[in-house]
Structure formats: structure tokens, C-alpha cells
Amino acid sequence: MTVLASPGPAGTGSRFARAGALLRAREVGIGVVLLVVFGVTTAHNHNFADANSVQQLLSGAALIAMLGVGETLVIVTRNVDLSVGSVVGLSAYVIGDLFSHHPGMPVILGFAVGIGIGAVIGAINGFITAALRVPSLVVTLAMLYIVRGVDGRVVNGVIIVPSNIPSAFVAIGFRTFLGIPWLAIIAFLIVVVVAYAMRSFRSGRDLYAIGSNPEAAALAGVLSARRVFTAFVFSGALAGLAGALFLALHAEVDVTAGTGYELLVVAAVVVGGVAIFGGSGTVVGAALGALLLNTINQALVASRVSSFWNEAIAGALLLGAIAFDRWLSLRVARGLRSAEGAHRDL
């Protein structure tokens, strides 16, 4: 046992340090891939690095990144939220509808409504999942259908046209600050704040505990159900906010808004190194994952690849990213195991 069997703390320390470095490398790794994709494309076509293009890279990824943050909170607890896409759609449309019928409505109210809608749907997801102990994948899949249906009833084929959206609102979609799109800034702030909270607050650590070992979490007095509930509410609220920003970005919305986002977001989060079965992963990684996927997609068009090839290549790269992340975590595990072995050597 350890008492009899342990090398100098220095030795172990360094080993674990290395393991830790590798752990951090999950984010670093994605960053590297990101830079490579960007570099290669730019070398191939210099305009890929010009202001407009970069701005679009950022604001294009902003929405998915935002959704990815919420999705991460949920996935870390061993759950998943497939309803985000439909929430984006509903929230975007309802806000647009309000603007068209009450032109005077203050912009901020638009955001409030969106966040509110998302939070309510998230609360429903959360309650059914946490209180009734129903697999979230099924619950949120069902919610995806339901919200889409409701959205359809609301939209009823009437499109929200740009002229009805207050310019102050649309401005958020394209205005930049110091050359950085507001969308990207908002997403960035959300990522930073949530990342910090996930690391430095008990509630944040609770989420990891729940996903890492639910029974242990319960025994440690973690209020699992309440935390999971909160995670879903948060995910929903972010989806609602994303809906508002979707409207700001496109200045118009019909029923197609946000369709298919659910898979996109999960993909981004997974690429971002968040373990699909909970317990580990960071919102920073998720955001980077979103940025990476968006960059890849645009790089393909920008490199004049026939548009028929985009989807296939995107899919292949996605698989590559997942495999890469797996390889990385395996190395971490090996690092720990070797450290462990050494740990017990006499």
C-alpha cells in the first residue's frame, strides 16, 4: 500500500504534472488543429484571413459556441439536450413576431423574451429528466418534436421580414467593436464567465461530480436533481438567447430557423473534447469545437472545393477530430497509469 510503497513526492508530482499538461492539451490540441486549418486555407487563399472573412468565422461560430456552452453543462452531467435547435427557432420567431406587431418594443425586451422562452422549455426538460428520472436523450428528442410543432403552428407560413426588425436589434448581428463582431464578443463573454463558474464554484464542480459518479455525488450530498435541472434551464436559456441573436444576424426568420442545430452542437461539443458520457470537458473546448467546425466548413468553400464535397469532407474531419480526442485522452490515461504503477513500486 501507499505508505510502504511510494517514491519521492517530487517524482510523482512531475508525472502528474505531465498528465495534467496532457489534460489541458485537449483544448490546446483543438486550438492547434484550428490554426492549421486556418493557416492552410489562408496559404491557399489569402482573403480567408481578411477582416470580413475572420469576422464571419467568429460570428458564424458564435451561435453554435453559445449553444455548445449550454450543451456542455448538460452533457457533463451525463445528459444531453437535443431540443436546442427547435428552441432557437421558436425563440427567434416569437421575438420577430413581437417586433413586427409592436414596432416600438425595446430591443432588450426581445432578448428577455427569447431567454425566457428558452428557460421555460429548459425547465420542462429539466423537470422531467431530473424529477421523473427519465433518460434525457428521449425527453429532449420528444421536446424537439413538440417545440418544432409549436413553432410551426406559430409561424404558419408567415415570414418575419427584415423591415419589421428594429435596426438597433439587427445591428447586434453585424456591428463590430474594435473589429470584433458583437456576436463573437457576447459568445466570448458567456464562455469566459461560465468557464470560470464551472471551475470556481461548488455548483460547477457538482455538475462534474454528478457526471463522474452519480451515486458518489448523491452520497456526497450533492443535490443532483436540482443541479441537473439547473443545467437544463441554463441550456434552454442560452438556446433562447441564441434564437434572439439568430434573428439579429439574419434579420428575418421562418420555420427553418435552427433546424438541425442539435446535431451540429453535439458534434461541436464532442469535437471540443467534452466526454459524451459526462464527468469531463470544458466549455472553452466546446466553444473551440464550434469555431473549428465553422472554420472547416468555410475553409472548404473558400478553397473553391466543389460544393458537392463540403458535407463529406466535413463529416470525415468530424470523425477525425473525435478519433484524435480519443487518442489524446488515451495518452492521458496511460500517463496516469504509469504514474500509478510507479506510485506503487517499492
Binding site: 410551426g152 404558419n156 407560413g157 427584415p162 434579420a251 428575418e252 433546424t259 468553400v301
Partner: protein, 365 residues
Amino acid sequence: MTTTRARQRRLVSALVLALVGMTAAACSSSGSSSGASGSGTSSASSSSSASSSSGGAIKKGLVVYFIPKDTQNPYEVIADKGGEKALAELGGKVVVSSGTQDTAAAQIPSIQAAIQAHANAIVIAGNDPSALCPSLNQAASAGIKIVSFDSDVDCGSSPDHLFINQANTEQIGTSEVSLLASEIGSKGQIAILSAAASATNQNAWIKYMKQELAKYPNMKLVTTVYGNDDPATSLQVLQGLLSAYPNLRGIISPTTVGISTAAQYLDTHKNLLSHLTLTGLGLPSQMRKYVEDGTVAKFELWNPSNLGYLAGYAAAALASGTASLTPGGSLGSYTVLAPAAGTGPSVVLGPPTVFDKSNVSQFNF
């Protein structure tokens, strides 16, 4: 009797209104496609007599199933309303039925429902050129008349069906190109921002655009990108397009989602306007903002409500046997055109309306 007369009068007035509206638009559209405006006037002048000649024999109580691409497509919702208007005036009824996704699979149950409900006619906008043919065949063999609009189904003669062409396919292709050419001085790189790669009408128009482009040696079509009629995708491919071809001078987007997305982007990146011109097919309601603030100078469309109205009228006429699919045959004021490459017998609504600052605000669709 009196009631029917009243209805006929309303029908007449409606047709006239619709067509006159178009003519006005055509004339005001600063001389582009003059041939088009000509045909417009002719149909207008003949409309009243035509409609009265046919209206009388239209059966009452006809049930027509309108099957749009999906129940949410704003353009088609307007068209369906037009159809409902027509059938209401003809004493029949329209059932709008389709899926939530614009796939053929989602439309098939609606066709089946029409069969089960012993409908008199089906008016369909095909999500897929061929996938619907087997089901439509079943409908036809159940005695249901088939009319296609907006996006034709390419079933050859099984079943026989009438295609209500929003505007002569070739004419759209050519006029789109000439619109753009006139704006960019007939030279430079241009690109097409289309909907789904499999959309029949899109591909048909693009084919003719390419033909037309042969006449402009200095205009080069560098690529066609597909936004799948989804704003996000459209925006993404547009951006890629712009960084891939920095010297791009013009974009044609023959789809309402594509053109409005592109317009919104240009509107928010005015620096691009100095060298980039956008045109295509769009809804005035969607585009008004961009036309009025100068982001887009001109774009085209026809009145989807009139299209639906005509389709509904045609369906009723076919179901009543007052119109036939034989080329040269008459449908109200319209003549049935002989089958051409890719389409069976068809009727052309008229030339597309060109919208610009002067008229964009007059249209509510």
C-alpha cells in the same frame, strides 16, 4: 343563378386585376424584357372574354388538394391562398396538405389522403422531380386531375399533368442574366447562390442562365453554391464564396431565402457594394428594405397569389372537363403550350415582374 353570375363577375374581375397588376409592373420595369411586357398586355386584354367563356361550365363543389413543398414555405402559403380564392369563387373547396419538411416522402401521405378523400384534382409543387410520380400515378388512375406549379414534377406522360409555369423557364434564366449584365456592364466574375442542389426549378433556370451567359463573353460564372433555402447555410456559403472569389462582381440568387440572406449581408457590409451586385428572385415584402436603401437595385418575381389562383382555376377547369391538355387548347385567357424538354403541357402565368425602388412598395406578398 344570380349568385353564380356574381361569382363569375368576381372571377373575371380577379383575373383582370391580377393580370393588369402584372402588366403595370412589367411596363414600369424600365424596358427590361420588353417581349415579356408584350405578352402581359395581350393576356390582359383578352382576359375578360376568356374567363367568361369558360367560367360557366366549371362544376360546383369540386375538392382540390393543394400540396405545397411544405406547409411553412411563405411563398407557397401565398400561392395556396390564391388557389383558395379561385376555388371559393368557383364554388369549390381547397384542402392544403403537406409535410413539415420539404421532402417528397413528406408529400406522399397528402397525395394518398387526396385519393382516399376522392378529391377531384391535385395541385402540387414537387419537392422532387420524380419521386412523386408513382403516387401521382395512383391518384391519376383514381380519376384525379394533376396540376403542378412552382416546381414541376418530371413524370413524362405518367401521369399526364399540366404544369402552371410561374414564368417561362427560359425567360427567367435569360432575364436574370440580362438584369445582372445591365448592372455590371456585362463583365466580370459572377456566381449563383441557389437553394438545394436537387431543386428542379432552380436547376432548370440555372441551365438557361448558362446558355444565356454564352452571349456575354466577358461575364464568367465561377461557381454555383447551394444554401438549401436555409438562412444559416446560405450565409455560410455566401461568405465562403466571397473570400474564395474576391473579384466577384455579381451574384444571382434565384431563390427567396438566398437573395434575402445575401441582401442582408451586403446591407451590413456596405463596403462590398462598391464592386458587388446582387439580383435574383425574391419576395418584395422581404426585399423592400434592401431595395429602398439601395443594397439591391432590381430583382424579379411573379405574383405567387396569381400563380396559385391560376393553378386552382386550371385544376377546376380540368376536373370539369372545360380545359384539356392538348397543346393550343385554351385555359381561360391562357394557351396550353406544347410539351418541351423536361416539361409536359404547360401554361405560363406571364413574364416575371421586375421590382425596383419605383414599385417594390406596391406589393404586399
